[in-house]
Symmetry: C4
Subunit: 468 residues, 4 copies
């Protein structure tokens, strides 16, 4: 075999030109010139925008205070403010300045009132957990009965992790802001607001659903307490049913009952909040990857200088580093959230095979099961979106034309295709779409096995605790 | 350590020449010259074909109308025409111009009669599904009893997805045609017709088998209705048995029975069609990858200019993009098709352990089970062939000789080996041969568990619905 | 950040030299010169060997006949000769010239007596299978009862595949020989004989164990036939027990019994042989990879010209292509062998939980189970060795020094690390060490489930067939 | 599409400079100069350290003996000395010179007293195992009853592997020391001591826990022997209960009982020690990877000459080679340790469902189960840390600036990202964090299945052996 003889090669090349009909060639020329114009337009736009932005920046840097306070600057810190504020109402994340414009105003102190509230709640939860364990070990231990222990200990664990996270939060947010500012900015206010909007919607819907679930749970418990009326006082019956671990040790007393109810409300909030928190952080991380991808998309298929790719690569690398830092900070919460969801789904499925004692129970049960499955799916998919967005950059690198293909673009492409950027559960598993399938498969298998070998167990007797 | 001394290296090289005996060397020379001639022959062929084609193209572009209408141009649009036309007879894919020569004639309109038919069918299915759910929730809910719900809701889902797909179909087909025309063309009519032939065979065999299955199902139901004769009228018995969800609510009426039968025929068609559709699209995608690979195969191991690789890489990239677009468009159908197949196989296996009430049932049962397994295998393997074909290009890149190895070839090879090109089920799983094994493994495991702990359940009583 | 100032860099470099003590430096020099000498020695050796070999080759090419017939040339064709000859005694692989010195003497013809024998056996097996199916469908169908069908149909399938393989065998062996001759040759007769030795040992041990297993099976069946004596004639009892599928249809007749016994012996041989065959091919493929690796190992860490890597890469590529061809040719046999082994292990484990009717049965049972597990492990590990050897080349490429790192070496390394070279079961699974673990895991899980939910089933009654 | 017009590109570049405000630019300049100074500082430090080290080395090489004996030189050999010494007290790892300063003083001899002790213990274990097997095959064989066989045979296997390892230990340690000395050294004594400290803590905690477990096991057995008192002598009762396999064959005799107790203590030690040993080797390997990463971390993001990367790459490669050698040497121990842990956890979980005969048993049971799970987790995580550390180098390579990106850095990055460096169980599985999850998943699934289909089996009767 020899190289193509040069004259043949030349002919081939000429033929390739000729292959297209004159008409087509003309169309091509028209097309090409249109393309050029479009590119110049974009470039001009870009320069114009850049100059405007430069002017903006100059102003911004010097006169931040004068800036319009009602304009969203698209930062994660700002978007997540309300989410953290809500958490603080329930004794979590005791960090100051969450609603400030700039993350530099964030601070953590052990002496702050929020921190003290949080510590008090931790001690209170510890007592509650102790009583629960005491109750459980005095009965038969099985998959269903340890539910309150799992529920309360994960609440405690998340609270502790959140406390630790609060200490690092100011530093993390400053780092995040730095990386955000380094990224190519969005040009429209709408694009900037998108992340904040998504986060707010998640918070709102998540809170509403969890509130509905708690209400239904209470109605079902009230209903149930009538059915197993131990005493004449319906309020007392209700509290004795839902807090049997306390009145197993102590005699009934109103203050104890109120404390228990409060404790239960707080724990339920935190149990729901940890899922919301994982979603919110995922949305934040996915959104900065999207911001980068948006820029890559605009310049898709164009001839760009190596410096462009070098800059983007460094930005991408920075986001990956941030992703790693956030993952380290929240991966315990992620893990607790995931294992909790799995455990509660399995327990509910186990119960699903038993006849319901009342319609209220049936409604609550199916709502609760759907809520659990929906929540698990939502957490999984939002968390997986970080991985999806991080891979999407590769698509634009595949379209780099031959002449613009430079070592920096190559390095960028290789780094994306060989690294795995995703949130993880303590690095034991990575949250990708594949995980969702394997989790779903596990649950379905478990359900099938349950159905196949089902023998009626009476899980709905008056002794069993009816909480959450 | 030093480099091989130059004189030693020279000796080595000379020795390598001498290593072969004079006879062998002569043979080699002969062989080499034969090879050269072959290559010149191919090149000449190629140039000749190219010139011919160029001439053809020139003519074609200017005088499309004059072209022989009975010549298949090997496009997917043309091959898939009849498949879509059949679907339209059953209220799916309401898009106009499916049998036109060029995809530019495709159009979708909400006001078109096909679209309206489709919408009517959707509403009718919705009613049917509602009645079915009403019936099911009034009995015990288990793996076997929810079968009609799964069947009808997936029909509805596929119909809706197909409606949405119909809206995008003209654009997709134009894009597909563009990419097809850019590819190196086949030289023989036979190669061009291959895809159309495969698609027609799939359609024909698929439809025949599904018709046979439906017939058997009816015979088995008729047989069964004699056995459980509720009334004296055999026709009435049959309809009351197969449409028990309707006559659970309404009294028996002939028009209702006819509507139910029609609904059932349509639903059965769609339930079969979704598998055929996934296969057809897979064949189409695999076939354009094969067209590219065919070209790579012809020039296998030759010294080719970088521009050759650059061109092929861009074509490969375009096909990948198309693959991604098609996947996004049909992945819901793929998912429904897969999960349906799995569910129905599991239900049938569950039934397989019970004694059959009649010979007709036994024949129907084993035919139906084989049909289901065969269909699932066929869908999986055809879908996996897209992935297989996309990887096959790599084999030819591995054979590029040392001197012709250029950055473009390298980039091409790296892109193929690091990307995963395959149809997917909503990106949760990718349809590769590996998936087939894991699916088979799951089914076998399920069957083993079933066999091991089997207790007779009477699934064949007169109350159980006998549909599909 | 700037580049290291040049003077600093120079200092660093000088320091690196100085870092070592004078003594060490002297030692280094000594070491280096020793190394050089070693390399020159090897190179000289190589050239010498090459010249000798060249001389040999010249002679060989011209006077093949005069060569010493007792010298093993290390080719796979020669090593596998006896294995194929044995197979031909049992109506498999009807190809002529398997014991010839050169694969060019191999030929296949439909009219040859071996082919006719093979076809007769196929028809005979078909009859046997038909009778077996007839017997089985007239009883309850379960995991245990379909054992004879699985056994006989896989025999038939393997026979058919082997017949097809025989047609392609001459071409495959010629290709193999070509690639082998192109590889760097071994220098010692011992290395050359190694593969042939391994293949012979596998054949010998495999055949002996399968013979022992068959003997034990017969003893156990004889023992059993005394216990369930239907008639007075012990020979008749034995045949009626082991061939119940024949005497379920026909009356007892001596010729039928002899035919059945012969059929059984042949089927048992083939059932064992397919595993041996997969092992033998694996050993052959692994051995040519090892031959290449041996050469890479000798030149490990040396400065070699790019042409060295280019040559090795092409040889590696050729072996991969051969591997692919062999895999396509035998993958059906591999698949049948694997699934058979898995199925029979599971059936035996299922039986293991039942009390044995006699000591002979117990001995046979535990020997048979160990044999099955050992055989499965051996097939898996030998097949996995192809993959292991194909990856081992990478280790030597990692040690290429900085200056000798060339594009060809890079390409070689990338190709090895991104390709998966292994035998497969119809491309559904690849035979690697990982597979062994997952198969073992599956079997253990199955056994655990069996143990946990064991209810005595009487699998050892007189009705159950006691064959193989 | 064209390249960016040069003037536009120039403008863009200028704009990028101008984009930052004058203030920011000034800050940047300040920052940059600070950075430069820092780098020069580090470089100066490095040169200084290097010169110091060079002086040290010169001294060291010539006068090793004069060096301060109380200074830890951070070598693995030194750190592991006490661990091996402890093992030698229990007849394992009979190699001399484990506490010497330099690995060159290590030696193995078959005639050494330690080796002879080891061989005597092996024979003694063999007898014990024989008696155990004899006892077990005379009863029903099931998952629970084969526990003593598994326990003793794995002890034997580990002992044999350790004996073989002892023969290679001197060579391995010399190789390890060589690689360690080649690595960039730590500057503080604290960093040097870290590995030794970790190893000591593992040894201490591991031994204490295993001692506590053994004590509890004895207390539980004593307690139990009172309950099932076969004779009047409590000591005799205890020995007859814990060594039932011996007194099943022989009559009771005090020397036999003492031998059995001794044997049991030794076996228990070895059963615990194998886990500790795997952990210790993992810590050693992870620590040399960490030493390399520490150096990469210091120079993170700086402009470094290609020679830096080349040197680091070779060091990394050496560590990988060492890792491979150590893995080959200990992978049988790793495998035995892993499978043992899994088996014992499953057996304990099986027992967990039965009511405990006494409180002592309950305490022992839950302590033992927690200990087993904790130990398995610890082994898995320490072993996985080798893999984690080996991947961490990649993170620093991702931060190499554009101008300092050289072929050597590229080769380094590609090698890390494509190779899998980890301890393995006979290459069947690799010890990574992912494995931990799949193991946990398997155990949880097993437990769920157990719970779901639990039927009381009386595993706590007087006949069942209560050992370990």
């Amino acid at each position: 075999m020899k190289l193509l003889p040069s004259n043949l090669a030349r002919k081939l090349r000429r033929w390739k030109k000729l292959r297209k009909s004159p008409l087509q060639r003309k169309l091509d020329l028209l097309h090409e010139s249109a393309r050029k114009r479009a590119f110049q337009h974009i470039s001009a736009d870009y320069v114009f925008e850049a100059q405007k932005e430069f002017a903006d920046n100059t102003l911004t840097t010097l006169r931040v205070k004068q800036r319009e306070p009602y304009l969203n600057n698209g930062s994660f810190h700002e978007a997540v403010g309300k989410v953290l504020l809500t958490a603080q109402c329930f004794a979590m994340m005791p960090v100051r300045g969450v609603t400030a414009k700039h993350p530099s105003r964030l601070s953590f102190s052990w002496r702050h009132v929020r921190t003290i509230c949080c510590l008090i709640f931790l001690i209170s939860t510890l007592c509650d957990l102790g009583l629960t364990i005491y109750k459980v070990v005095h009965g038969p231990i099985n998959f269903n009965n340890i539910k309150p222990i799992i529920f309360k200990s994960s609440t405690l664990l998340v609270c502790l992790t959140a406390l630790n996270l609060a200490r690092n939060w100011p530093k993390l947010m400053l780092h995040w802001r730095e990386i955000e500012q380094d990224l190519p900015e969005y040009h429209t206010q709408q694009q900037k607001c998108r992340m904040a909007h998504t986060i707010n919607m998640i918070m709102l819907i998540g809170m509403m659903l969890s509130f509905a679930e708690h209400l239904l749970s209470m109605i079902s418990a009230i209903n149930y307490s009538f059915y197993c009326n131990a005493t004449d006082d319906p309020v007392r019956n209700f509290f004795m049913l839902t807090n049997d671990h306390i009145f197993y040790v102590f005699n009934y007393a109103a203050p104890l009952a109120i404390w228990a109810k409060l404790q239960n409300v707080y724990a339920t909030f935190i149990w729901n909040y940890m899922n919301i928190f994982v979603m919110v952080v995922s949305v934040g991380l996915a959104s900065i990857f999207r911001q980068l991808n948006e820029n890559l998309r605009i310049f898709k298929g164009m001839h760009l200088p190596p410096s462009y790719w070098s800059e983007r690569r460094i930005q991408y690398r920075n986001i990956c580093t941030l992703c790693g830092k956030m993952d380290t900070a929240i991966s315990l919460i992620t893990m607790v959230s995931f294992s909790n969801n799995l455990y509660f789904i399995c327990v509910q499925l186990l119960r699903s095979l038993n006849p319901m004692p009342s319609v209220a129970h049936a409604v609550y049960f199916y709502f609760s099961l759907s809520y659990l499955i929906g929540r698990t799916l939502a957490v999984s998919l939002y968390a997986a979106s970080v991985h999806d967005e991080s891979r999407r950059s590769l698509r634009f690198l595949r379209l780099v034309p031959k002449d613009a293909w430079c070592p920096e673009a190559k390095r960028f492409a290789e780094e994306i295709s060989s690294d795995l950027v995703a949130l993880s559960g303590m690095k034991f598993f990575y949250l990708t779409r594949k995980l969702v399938l394997s989790v779903a498969g596990t649950i379905v298998t478990y359900e099938l096995v349950l159905i196949q070998f089902h023998e009626d167990q009476d899980l709905w007797d008056c002794e069993a605790s009816g909480n959450s």
